[in-house]
């Protein structure tokens, strides 16, 4: 593999790192913030399951992203991933909860505009509509789940200490599921743009199993996410854990489970084929925003409790972040591509016409 190829891949790794630093907080923030789980335990479980999810079932959601704009040249992919990562970094610095998904979608559209490629309207609508559906769905699921859990706890009279122990185990299990779903759903964001120009070749371990070039790409991306989780997510976890409204440990569990279910729904090929084979409407396999899902879930619980205690200013800044992220990422990508092409003389796209 050429040095330049590795160099271009670094932006994907940077984006992976940013995603790990940010989105691990969606999965484990409430648990770590409320001191139910130690950060070291959370970081370890999160890293392992993100890698598993990405390699085992990352292809579904990544495929849709690929349809939005197949970035044909490695330098172009480099800039798309870089500008997404950079916007995430900027927004994080500014203290705004941010969606990596939106950043990468903005970047791809920036590339499409620069290269004169048409943006697939069907794929775009599919993705953008999930930005609305995802938090709503997470909110709905969390309302139902929270109500059921409270009724259950009231009926069963479990000792306070035992509830605490169950909640800890539950948070760990939900976190593992969440990390798996995050890996499966969001790995496309991290290295999806590199798929058409993947520098890897299939790799076989004897006859035991083969790691395809895409899986290798996912593995590398997932490892970058894991590094982000371990090195930089603690602070974000503490902020998210106590950010919007104070959650009880059981509330935290409900939020994580709802978030994870939503991410899983939008990444599961198995579920898609099951629904399709029974003639039911399928759920599009789209990378959704982990941040949006968890915000939706937390707001669901807050509304169920009468909407008191919601810090609307925080919610407002989150929504503003959602609107700004794709635009900023798109602009950075467009400008960056211009420099890459005209100053560094790199081919950022292969003309198809």
């Amino acid at each position: 593999m050429e040095v330049s190829t590795i160099l271009f891949l670094t932006s994907g790794l940077f984006l992976g790192w940013a995603l790990g630093a940010n989105d691990a907080a969606n999965v484990f923030g409430t648990a770590v913030g409320s001191r139910m789980i130690k950060f070291s335990t959370a970081a370890m479980v999160c890293s392992v399951f993100v890698v598993l999810g990405a390699v085992a079932s990352g292809t579904g959601a990544a495929h849709t992203l690929g349809k939005l704009g197949a970035i044909t040249a490695l330098p172009g992919a480099f800039m798309a991933a870089f500008s997404a990562g950079f916007s995430v970094y900027l927004m994080t610095k500014a203290g705004i909860a941010v969606s990596t998904t939106q950043a990468i979608v903005g970047s791809i559209i920036g590339w499409n505009l620069f290269s004169g490629t048409d943006t697939d309207p069907a794929a775009l609508t599919k993705i953008v509509s999930t930005w609305l559906i995802c938090p709503l769905l997470a909110g709905g699921i969390s309302i139902i789940l929270f109500k059921s859990v409270t009724i259950f706890l009231r009926r069963t009279n479990i000792h306070l200490l035992r509830t605490d122990a169950y909640t800890r185990i539950g948070l760990l299990a939900a976190g593992a599921f969440g990390a798996y779903s995050l890996g499966a759903n969001n790995i496309g964001n991290v290295v999806g743009v590199f798929i058409p120009s993947s520098p890897f070749t299939d790799f076989s371990f004897g006859d035991i199993f083969t790691l395809t070039s895409i899986e290798q790409l996912f593995l590398v991306g997932a490892l970058a996410i894991a590094v982000g989780v371990i090195t930089y997510s603690k602070r974000v976890m503490m902020t998210v854990g106590r950010g919007m409204i104070p959650l009880s440990p059981v509330g935290a569990w409900v939020a994580v489970v709802s978030h994870s279910i939503v991410l899983f729904l939008f990444a599961s090929r198995g579920l898609e084929s099951f629904l399709a084979s029974h003639g039911l409407p399928t759920i599009p396999l789209v990378p959704v925003s982990s941040s949006q899902a968890v915000v939706g879930a937390v707001l669901g619980i807050a509304l169920l409790r009468g909407g008191r205690n919601i810090r609307w200013r925080v919610v407002g800044s989150i929504v503003v972040g959602w609107c700004l992220t794709p635009v900023i990422a798109g602009i950075i990508c467009f400008i960056g591509l211009y420099f890459l092409q005209n100053v560094f003389n790199q081919q950022v796209f292969i003309p198809t016409f």
Partner: protein, 220 residues
Amino acid sequence: MELTSSIRLFGRTKALEGEIDEFLNRLSQSALLFKHALAIYFRSGADEEFEEKLKHVNALESEADHLRRSIERQLYEHTLIPESRGDVLGLVENLDSIINQLEGTLWNFSIETPDIPEEFHADYMALAEMSVMAVEHVVMASRSFFTNVEEANNHTHKVMFYEKETDKISTKLKRAIFATDLELSHKAHLRNFVEHIDNAADSAEDVADRLAIYVIKRTV
């Protein structure tokens, strides 16, 4: 590794649940023994049987102290129930002070051997009865706080009721004491013992007030 730590967590939780139960048992037993000891005192003074009860309460108090320290240490060492830890700590400490009060009152009877005229015995016993009821219900409220939080309110309001009753009896008793021809020093001595017994109910009410807030916190 996670599995073994989970098993440890459940083992620890079970042991701690047991210790909390044991602690509440000590308080409840102390209250019953307190009532029993006073009945003996009014029947035959601070005799051997009375001293035996006092010794028993004394032992229960030491055990309760030991349990309290162990509960507090475990809650903080293993960062259990981070949301309610402070509340449980406050609850256990305040309940412990009730045992101390019961023990202290019996010691006062043993050391000072107040000379209580027979006409007041029934009122002193009624006062002790109501105080012990208040303590009993605060124990029940505390148990409910851990298992069936909504049930706790049923007991806290009874604590308030019994505390009001002790207030009524103690006022009546003090008036009656000061209406007699006894020496002022004797009257003051008798009044002190009315207050000693009444104090247990007041402390039980303080704990019940805190519990009512903890219950709201846990149900929100």
